[in-house]
């Protein structure tokens, strides 16, 4: 079956512009995660969705970052007034979510490489 897909694969933008990154999770996966991968910071958690709600937003680095999920499926990560330090690969992952006491692994998309000039 189809895996997690992300678009665009690459995005180059100018400092101060807004960008939107899209994630299509695996069908039926109720949990969705955004992570950021950069040379200096490694892999960092940004936000977690269960269905359309986001019970854990603790990783969002500033109020310029926001995300939403609609229909329990597609998610969009928005970065407003981009800065050069926002340059990174943004990874989306989905999982079946928490079922009883069994923890399900997360499946990752290929990422969106964001470059802020």
């Amino acid at each position: 079956g189809a895996g997690v897909s992300q678009s665009p694969s690459n995005k180059v933008t100018e400092k101060g512009k807004d960008v939107e990154l899209r994630c299509d999770p695996i069908s039926g996966h109720t949990a969705l995660y955004w992570y950021r991968q950069s040379l200096g910071q490694g892999l960092e958690f940004l936000i977690y969705f269960q269905g359309n709600s986001a019970p854990d937003k603790s990783g969002l680095p500033s109020d310029r970052f926001s995300a939403e999920r609609t229909g329990g499926s597609v998610s969009t990560l928005t970065i407003q007034r981009t800065q050069q330090e926002d340059s990174a690969v943004y990874l989306c992952a989905s999982s079946l979510g928490l079922r009883g006491r069994r923890f399900n692994e997360q499946f990752f998309g290929p990422g969106t490489r964001l470059t802020v000039l």
């Binding site: 997690v4 949990a31 995660y33 992570y35 490694g42 892999l43 958690f45 977690y48 269960q50 019970p55 854990d56 603790s58 990783g59 990874l91 992952a93 999982s95 979510g97 928490l98 069994r102 923890f103 692994e105 997360q106 499946f107 990752f108 998309g109 290929p110 990422g111």
Partner: protein, 116 residues
Amino acid sequence: AQSVAQPEDQVNVAEGNPLTVKCTYSVSGNPYLFWYVQYPNRGLQFLLKYITGDNLVKGSYGFEAEFNKSQTSFHLKKPSALVSDSALYFCAVRGGLYNQGGKLIFGQGTELSVKP
């Protein structure tokens, strides 16, 4: 707070030799541990996980990992390395409270290079 450490930035192995990629963790409570692999310009691929049960966990592509509670380690192993195993390997632990969805906390990654 939960954390993961991968003490080696790079591991070099000859093809056919056994490989080990090290990982140690720090958690409160029972650890849920994972290994992922990342090939160039690709997302992360799940290799294996330890939730409970046998300390030796078998995963994809012939990899296995040994959970050692007393040493708080979860080293990744493979009996015979292949050149195609060359990639970036990440150890991760489930972070946060149970009802916070299980975000992953990653180590800094270990670059594995397997030479013919």
